[in-house]
């Protein structure tokens, strides 16, 4: 049973607005105009942009690769972006700059090329190979990142933990402005893909046979993934499982059509990251829990369930 999607959109949008308003008023520090405008508001804006971007990126990866288990962090794209950012800073760049964001894009794009290149065989992307390639890429990027962070003092407050579990604590308006253009272009690119992504569920050959430009739509979708993931990771680190959880929840509510899936994933992703971040900063007062830990605690069990279901649907894989 699926719900009428315009209603779901309205309810989600309203909830997001209420959640943002609540997040402005909730916090450890006393609520003053200064705190609200300079500390909480940019953090909320960042949560909305990053959450929407990660969720849409997950939906795009899953649709363009026919792989229900794809998530930017799980397949190494976020790791590539983090490594790119740290490398740029180690080379003398600064955080929250266009240079850092472009380096993040380069890192994310390299990871996409590697994992997708390895997983496509006989013009068909393989579900498990993509994840295994992601494991290898993530191991490499995490290690290289640790080396760079420990060797250079330029990392400042951004530790290895910051990169691997993410944090919005350092969000500023400058950071928001450095992410926003990438998110806007990424979302615009995503908006060109829905019909083709629907038919791509048939697999490459049959999709091509009904008239889908398979290589073209995959290129556009994955370019959007790079833009949406990279700029976010460059400013807040890796927040895993958002791109996995949100599209699956949305499909369960309104069905798999990519038009509504992308719109609702953007809203629900923004809401999830905003809620998780608000939780992360108030629940263990006075310390902050890393937001990536919050999303992983929900996401990892959900991934396990999806793994079993996907394997059953595909008749097992060996």
């Amino acid at each position: 049973m699926t719900l009428r999607w315009p209603w779901v959109t309205a309810v989600l949008a309203l909830t997001l607005i209420l959640a943002a308003a609540a997040a402005l008023l909730i916090g450890v520090a006393a609520t003053s105009p200064e705190v609200v405008w300079n500390i909480r508001a940019p953090r909320i804006a960042m949560a909305v942009i990053v959450g929407a971007g990660l969720a849409v990126a997950g939906a795009l990866m899953q649709g363009s690769l026919g792989n229900p288990l794809a998530d930017p962090a799980l397949v190494g794209v976020s790791g590539g972006a983090a490594l790119g950012t740290v490398a740029a800073v180690a080379l003398g760049g600064a955080f929250n700059t266009g240079f850092a964001s472009l380096a993040a894009c380069l890192g994310a794009a390299s990871a996409v090329v590697v994992v997708v290149g390895v997983s496509i065989r006989d013009s068909r992307p393989e579900v498990v190979t993509l994840l295994l390639a992601g494991v290898a890429v993530t191991a490499f990027t995490t290690a290289a990142l640790a080396v760079l962070v420990s060797m250079s003092d330029v990392a400042g407050a951004r530790s290895v933990t910051f990169w691997t579990t993410g944090s919005l604590a350092l969000a500023t308006w400058v950071g928001v402005l450095s992410v926003a253009p990438f998110a806007v272009i990424g979302l615009a690119l995503a908006a060109t893909t829905p019909r083709s992504l629907d038919a791509l569920s048939l697999g490459d050959r049959a999709a091509q046979a009904v008239g889908v430009d398979v290589a073209g739509v995959r290129y556009r979708a994955l370019s959007a993934v790079v833009l949406l993931v990279a700029a976010g990771v460059a400013t807040v680190g890796i927040i895993a499982f958002v791109g996995l959880l949100v599209p699956h929840a949305v499909r369960a509510l309104v069905g798999p059509q990519h038009g509504r899936l992308l719109v609702l994933s953007a809203l629900a992703g923004a809401l999830l990251v905003l809620a998780a971040d608000t939780l992360a900063r108030v629940v263990a007062n006075p310390v902050e829990i890393p937001i990536g830990a919050v999303t992983a605690l929900i996401g990892a069990p959900a991934f396990f369930v999806l793994l079993r279901r996907t394997r059953a649907r595909q008749g097992g894989w060996s």
């Binding site: 569920s201 008239g211 499909r251």
Partner: protein, 268 residues
């Protein structure tokens, strides 16, 4: 460019794939007439799917030409190809739980923004009904059996309304009733003037269905002609590399494997 009205729906002029020892398909010449059913048979790995991928325009020939109504297929974009030929691929899984009517409607994707798209809803409904799926219209395609899923894809191919239809082992997941229904569908499509190519391992069945049979082995065409011309013990034995018996029954050749050399008597 030659006149579309006189050019065959599909023609291969010396089309080959790979070369030398890496050849996957020897240079191939053939032309298909409108309203005909052509069956491609041969052992696994003999090049049937390779030939089909050239016929579908999805693969560019290494040498030679693939012409659709006289136009070179590799020069067409995905949409133009999809208005000319449709394909039922071997892979029938759908990655996400779309509804039956949504999957069938993808057959209309290439006709968007054309006059015929005004009839999309009617064409999709007719295709669904032609495959006996009216009651499954709003079911999720991931919940269907293999045979039902094949019928959904067949309805999608029908909804695409192309002059050329390529069916790659469409009968693989079908039981006896399903195959009978598939054959009725294929025969009806040919009567409408459409050109149907099917790959199958069910030799006797497709021999009675098709006007023409192509026997492949080792990446090349061994024999090409009417079923009664190509279904001989000599041709099939050479292509499949095993002894077969061919008998005639009421004017139709019937292919049989010899009985196992060692078999005990029936118990009881």
């Amino acid at each position: 460019m030659s006149d579309a009205s006189t050019s065959p729906p599909l023609e291969l002029r010396g089309a080959s794939l790979g070369s030398g020892t890496a050849a996957r398909l020897q240079p191939t010449h053939l032309a298909l007439e409108p309203g005909t059913i052509t069956a491609i048979i041969g052992p696994n790995g003999s090049g049937k799917s390779t030939l089909l991928s050239l016929m579908s325009g999805d693969t560019r020939p290494t040498e030679g030409l693939v012409l659709m109504n006289g136009a070179a297929a590799p020069a067409m974009n995905a949409t133009m190809l999809a208005r000319h030929r449709s394909l039922l691929a071997q892979e029938t899984t759908v990655a996400f739980p779309f509804l039956v009517r949504e999957v069938v409607a993808w057959g209309r994707l290439a006709w968007r923004r054309t006059p015929s798209s005004a009839d999309d809803a009617r064409i999709v409904d007719a295709a669904i009904e032609s495959q006996g799926l009216a009651a499954r219209r709003d079911r999720r395609v991931t919940e269907l059996s293999g045979g039902e899923r094949t019928r959904v894809h067949l309805a999608r191919v029908i909804a695409q309304r192309t002059a050329l239809l390529l069916l790659d082992e469409a009968d693989a997941d079908l039981d006896l009733v399903g195959r009978s229904h598939l054959d009725e569908t294929v025969a009806a499509l040919a009567l409408e003037g459409r050109t149907v190519v099917l790959v199958s391992h069910d030799i006797n069945r497709v021999a009675r269905l098709s006007h023409r049979m192509i026997v492949m082995s080792g990446g090349g065409i061994n024999a090409d002609g009417r079923p009664k011309e190509v279904l001989t013990a000599g041709i099939l034995g050479a292509a499949f590399g095993t002894a077969v018996e061919v008998t005639q029954e009421i004017g139709h050749p019937v292919v049989r494997l010899p009985a196992p050399t060692r078999r005990g008597p029936m118990p009881g």
